[in-house]
């Protein structure tokens, strides 16, 4: 029993805290707090960057479609104009043929 008491006394004996423990604990706490605060900001920044990239890509896609559409539109009018020219020529030939037959 004496031995047991002895052991208990040794275990519960008051010892001074290691030097710098309080400072380390405080630093640890501060860094944890700052990490908690920075995470939402990083997320927010990521969301902003991502949405900027996505909206930029969408705007580029729209502009590219517009450019292609304009080019195609011009081509359509060129094609119709050539078709029109060919039909006019055909009419002239047919008219000349008609005159020759008369």
């Amino acid at each position: 029993m004496d031995d047991f008491e002895q052991q208990l006394r040794q275990v519960f004996a008051r010892r001074p805290a290691p030097p710098g423990l309080k400072r380390r604990l405080m630093e640890n706490r501060r860094s944890q707090q700052s990490r908690i605060h920075t995470i939402p900001w990083q997320r927010l920044a990521a969301v902003v960057v991502l949405s900027a990239v996505l909206s930029g890509a969408a705007a580029w896609h729209k502009r590219e479609e517009q450019r292609k559409g304009e080019a195609a539109r011009q081509q359509v009018f060129i094609a119709l104009s050539i078709t029109n020219h060919a039909l006019n020529q055909m009419n002239s030939q047919l008219a000349a043929h008609g005159r020759a037959q008369k």
Partner: protein
């Protein structure tokens, strides 16, 4: 992993098949065209497949009467293929080349609407239409002049009402008159 790969390959094949199906309607340029282009002083080539026509249709202003009419015409089309070769001098192409061109585009599906030849054989016009169940699904013109050669191929349903609406557009007056010609080919194309 194997299934994913299989699905990927299947998807790629399906995409390629769709793309092919969309562009298969328009013919590849005839070998004669390359030779003609090499001799021509000015070449205009327009190839518009269904997708490109859809792009054009998107940007056409529906409020503008002329653009609305053009949009209505091109909306159902499968493709437009136009070639115009201009030459500095006459005799830059032979009758044989013209015949080969004609045969390249002429298939059993096409009916001749106008076949006009001048006596000297230097000028000719071929107009053909592709009729499906009595409706025009294609329009082909081969116009030959001493210094100019024009090929026009328009594929897809062509509503004459829509063509008629183009008559008001500056420079497209003859297109509006196509309706009359298709209804009465005998009067215009006397020597078909």
């Amino acid at each position: 992993m194997k299934y994913r790969m299989f699905a990927f390959v299947l998807g790629a094949v399906a995409l390629a098949a769709t793309a092919f199906a969309q562009t298969a309607q328009l013919p590849a340029p005839s070998p004669i065209e390359k030779a003609l282009a090499a001799r021509a002083s000015h070449v205009t080539e327009v190839t518009l497949d269904k997708n490109t026509l859809a792009f054009a249709s998107k940007v056409m202003n529906g409020k503008d009467k002329d653009e609305a009419a053009t949009r209505q015409l091109i909306d159902g089309l499968e493709g437009i293929y136009v070639r115009e070769y201009e030459f500095d001098k006459e005799d830059q192409f032979s009758a044989d080349e013209i015949e080969q061109l004609r045969k390249y585009f002429e298939t059993s599906e096409w009916s001749t609407l106008v076949r006009e030849r001048d006596r000297k054989g230097r000028e000719s016009t071929d107009v053909m239409v592709k009729l499906v169940k009595g409706e025009t699904h294609g329009f082909f013109i081969l116009e030959v002049e001493p210094k100019e050669l024009t090929i026009v191929l328009i594929l897809g349903p062509i509503r004459m009402d829509d063509l008629g609406k183009l008559k008001g557009i500056s420079g497209l007056d003859a297109l509006g008159g196509v309706e009359f010609k298709t209804k009465t080919p005998d009067k215009k194309g006397g020597n078909q």
